[in-house]
Amino acid sequence: MKQSGDIVLEVRELVKRYGDTVAVDGVSFSVRAREIFGILGPNGAGKTTTLECIETLRPVDAGTIFLGGLNVRAQAQEVKRIIGVQLQSSSFFDKLSLSELLVLFGEMYGRHVDPLALLDEVELRDKSRSQVVQLSGGQKQRFSIAAALVNDPVVMFLDEPTTGLDPQARRHLWGVIKRIRSEGKTVVITTHYMDEAEELCDRVAIMDAGKIIAMAPPHEMIDALVAGGFRRERVERLASLEDVFLNLTGHTIRDE
């Protein structure tokens, strides 16, 4: 584990229902400053719902959430000022350029942002005059991260940012996320890719059917499993098909 800091996000016994469905069923976890915290789980596990409760987008049925010393349920407006959010499925206005969008989003926080600096952060400077519809999948996700950075947030929430991207674009995005963390941000990311969690996250919570069923740094989970006598049926080959693919097609991103 890298540097561990103070706790910036604390979720306790969070419950969220949609009618009869219990989407989040008593979830508790805390996230430390400057860590990349992963929530790993299959589709429908409740990852998005958990994030949206923290992001003040959904009323909570039970439990407490503290973020940066603020009570999320009571101080939604203040919380919004210090978080940066990439939603799983959301888009941006058409007809505005990336630069114009970033300036507009900055204004929503009362900030005058430098759009090119933000675009540099996600390696999209040359697209500053393009519109979101003209971007590839990977570029869209990177732009979405830039938009989440306009308010210099304390915590960033990224909901399945790499789903649907090709291997090169995923790797590129991992680089961006790691750099953002190295600049002092805390990142909460959801994914259903194990390799991604293993590569990126300092700690992961594995979620299924609304509950967290395990939480630890990825290598500790693997060590514990192995120590418990687990062996793969077939010994891992020294390379995977993805390695073959990347070796053949190269690491350079294709989407621009």
Partner: protein
């Protein structure tokens, strides 16, 4: 304040960059006016006659005989009101039955007024027909009495054309379309694509965004009205004598009414497919019956009564009175109040029905 202004500017930018939007809000209404304006609707219809009966019971027989003539459509009124109608081109002739007139009372000179220059045939024909009816009336009352004569005097009317009727109507129509279709479609799409959700994780308040959207559309509406009136006056011979500020006030009131309905529709619809039929159900009856293309005076009585309270009727009538008759605030007060009432209803509805998701 600042963020609302920034959002308004951004919305305006987005709107202007949408070619279709410009097409529909500015070019299309103009095109309709131009196309319809050049179609001539003045086939030889009835003679529109205004009668001012100042002779009371003595004039009754003459009046009823005139009314019996098939080719004449009679309206009665005071001298002032009928002459005003004549001025607008709503009457072909106005006949004055003077106070001293009596069918059996000997020769009296009657006068009719008409725009002899602009409508030579109708006024001449009308004069002849009226003289004949006058003679019949005299003969029936006292066969021996010398005939009264009718002289037709020239009167310069403003000779309003169909464009003068149509343009304020089309303006009202496009205000309605922008409010209802514009808002409902764009908000449903913003909702569906998750664009609004993304906004709600920033500190802006939903109200800021709504205010910006309304402000943007009202600005567009003002520009649209200016362009339409300008093109009308410069190229289409629009007889505009109204007060522009009053036109704008009515336009904005109407805009608020229809924006309110637009937000209500956006509230109850989940997709564009749901918006379209609802929007059509609201707008089509008004398009047909609010006197946009054709005067409501030809509608059957109960339909006319019912449609007189449509918001589009208030808007079209108000804009028309101000633009063409130069009506002042007091004269369009019924329309202003009607629109204000509808505005209150539609905004209340929007507040109840509007949903972000």
């Amino acid at each position: 304040m600042r963020i609302q202004w920034m959002l308004t500017l951004a919305s305006l930018k987005m709107f202007i960059r949408q070619r279709e939007a410009i097409l529909w809000t500015i070019l299309f209404p103009l095109l309709v006016v131009i196309l319809f304006g050049f179609v001539r609707f003045n086939g030889v219809g009835k003679i529109e006659l205004g009668v001012v009966n100042e002779a009371g019971a003595q004039g009754a027989d003459l009046l009823s005989r005139i009314k019996a003539v098939r080719t004449i459509e009679v309206s009665e009124g005071t001298r002032d009101s009928e002459m005003a109608e004549l001025g607008k081109g709503e009457r072909d002739l106005v006949l004055i039955i003077p106070a001293g007139y009596a069918p059996a009372g000997g020769a009296t000179d009657l006068t009719a007024f008409g725009d002899l220059e602009a409508k030579p045939q109708v006024t001449q024909l009308g004069g002849l027909v009226l003289q004949r009816v006058l003679d019949e009336t005299t003969f029936a009352a006292a066969p021996g009495v010398r005939r009264s004569t009718l002289s037709t005097l020239p009167f310069k009317s403003r000779n309003l054309t169909y464009i003068d009727f149509l343009l304020p109507g089309i303006l009202s129509m496009s205000i309605m379309q922008m409010g209802i279709f514009g808002v409902a479609f764009s908000f449903v799409s913003l909702k569906k694509r998750g664009i609004l959700r993304r906004l709600w994780v920033t500190p802006i308040r939903p109200g800021d965004f709504i205010i910006a959207q309304v402000a943007m559309r009202l600005l567009v509406l003002l520009v649209q009205m200016t362009i339409m009136v300008g093109v009308g006056v410069l190229f289409l011979n629009l007889h505009f004598i109204g007060n522009l500020a009053l036109i704008c006030l009515l336009g904005i009131l109407g805009g608020v009414v229809f924006l309110g309905f637009g937000f209500s529709l956006a509230g109850i619809s989940k997709s564009e497919d749901q918006v379209a039929p609802l929007a059509n159900i609201i707008t089509l009856p008004m398009l047909a019956l609010s006197g946009i293309f054709f005067s409501r005076s030809n509608l059957p009585g109960f339909v006319r009564a019912a449609t007189s309270v449509f918001p589009l009727t208030f808007l079209a009538d108000g804009l028309r009175s101000v633009a063409i008759d130069g009506a002042a605030v007091a004269q369009v007060m019924p329309q202003i109040l009607g629109l204000a009432l509808w505005g209150a209803v539609s905004c209340a509805l929007a507040i109840r029905l509007f949903r972000w998701e």
